[in-house]
């Protein structure tokens, strides 16, 4: 059917404007979405590759530990792969700027800051579950305790978190994600080089190095997260001024 005819047909059913609409809709007590509904809805927006990569890493570690003859040396393999998990999670946070949607998302019912924080929480929780799962798998196969394993696995992960957040907070363009990918590759290579150049890196001799690195990187990552939240708050304020 012709478009103009459809349009004419639509106008053939024109009616006098309702008079009590606004009053009724303002008083209407309809069920509003709860926080839980909102969090559930955000789960659906996280891309499948985040879940798939986390699952592959977990299964890969399981198989690697099963077939590897020296499980201790497998620690550095996993710790070199872990930054990629954080990269995939981080890529979820820069989707708005990658697709130039920030301004639009700022004006939505739930603004970008809320959405980002919820997604950050979900992704952080997922990564934590995967990490704990991997650590438990390692604990059964190696002599390392939970804390030592946590230090070995989480330090490169935190270094990548800090590096990518540092980039995100200073560069806001469509190319940010490529720079973040470069940072992740660099962290992974650095971790591998550290292991190959220093054979005793996973011994108690380097314990202090791991502890200090972990604390410093955790603090720096937290600082960058706070900075990101503040920056989004400023962006929201700017958007409200131009609305």
């Amino acid at each position: 059917m012709r478009y103009d005819l459809k349009k004419e047909l639509k106008s053939a059913f024109d009616v006098p404007a309702p008079t009590r609409k606004e009053q009724f809709l303002n008083q209407l007590d309809y069920p509003k979405a709860s926080r839980i509904d909102f969090i559930k809805s955000q789960l659906g927006y996280i891309r499948k590759r985040v879940w798939i990569l986390s699952f592959i890493l977990f299964i890969g570690t399981l198989l690697g530990l099963y077939f590897s003859e020296v499980p201790t040396s497998f620690v550095w393999v996993v710790s070199s792969v872990l930054p990629f998990i954080s990269l995939v999670s981080i890529s979820e946070l820069v989707r708005s700027s990658t697709y130039n949607m920030e301004e639009l998302e700022m004006s939505c019912k739930y603004n970008l800051l809320e959405v980002t924080l919820i997604r950050l929480g979900i992704l952080g929780l997922t990564n934590l579950v995967v990490l704990i799962g991997i650590m438990l798998l390692f604990m059964g196969k190696t002599d390392f305790g939970l804390i030592r394993l946590g230090l070995y696995l989480l330090t490169p992960y935190l270094l990548n978190c800090y590096g990518t957040l540092f980039v995100i907070n200073r560069l806001r363009s469509r190319e940010t994600i490529y720079i973040c990918s470069g940072v992740t590759v660099l962290v992974s290579i650095l971790n591998t080089m550290l292991r190959t150049s220093t054979n005793e890196i996973y011994t108690e001799r380097y314990g202090l190095f791991w502890v200090i690195s972990f604390i410093m990187l955790a603090a720096l990552s937290a600082k960058e997260i706070v900075k990101m939240i503040k920056k989004m708050g400023e962006l929201q304020w700017n958007s409200s001024l131009t609305a």
Partner: protein
């Protein structure tokens, strides 16, 4: 729940007005439709609110005619259109639509004014999909 209530209200009001041809009654029926819709929880999260609201509105209109024992329209109100030239250009279409059987008019309203799918119209009007296509 992120539905455009304003838009839904307009569409249901248009449908009720088509059924009863009285502004006040159409608005009463529209509001009753919304109250009934939000009074139950079984359907709200299933999507397609317009189709469900249209079904409620249709049933309420039938009840309204039953209660008042009427088979004819109430005092027909003629919509006032400010734009005279637009009114003239639409006149032929309006006249053609007015000459159609009431069932077909309802189908056109649901399809072209309210944008419902063939399936949804078939469910509301209790026709088969094939009948809707044929009409």
């Amino acid at each position: 729940m992120s539905i455009n209530l304003q838009d839904l209200y307009d569409k249901i009001y248009k449908y009720c007005y088509f059924k009863v041809r009285n502004k006040e009654t159409a608005e009463d029926l529209t509001q009753e439709t919304f109250l009934k819709y939000f009074n139950q929880k079984s359907y709200i999260d299933r999507g397609k609110p317009l189709a469900y609201l249209s079904t409620i509105a249709k049933n309420l209109c039938i009840d309204f005619y039953r209660k008042n024992n009427r088979n004819e329209y109430l005092n027909v109100e003629i919509s006032v259109n400010d734009d005279v030239s637009k009114f003239e250009s639409n006149f032929a279409i309006k006249q053609a639509v007015a000459e159609l059987p009431i069932e077909l008019q309802e189908l056109l309203l649901l399809r072209f004014a309210n944008g419902l799918s063939i399936n949804e119209i078939a469910n509301i009007m209790k026709f088969s999909r094939f009948s809707v296509y044929r009409k």
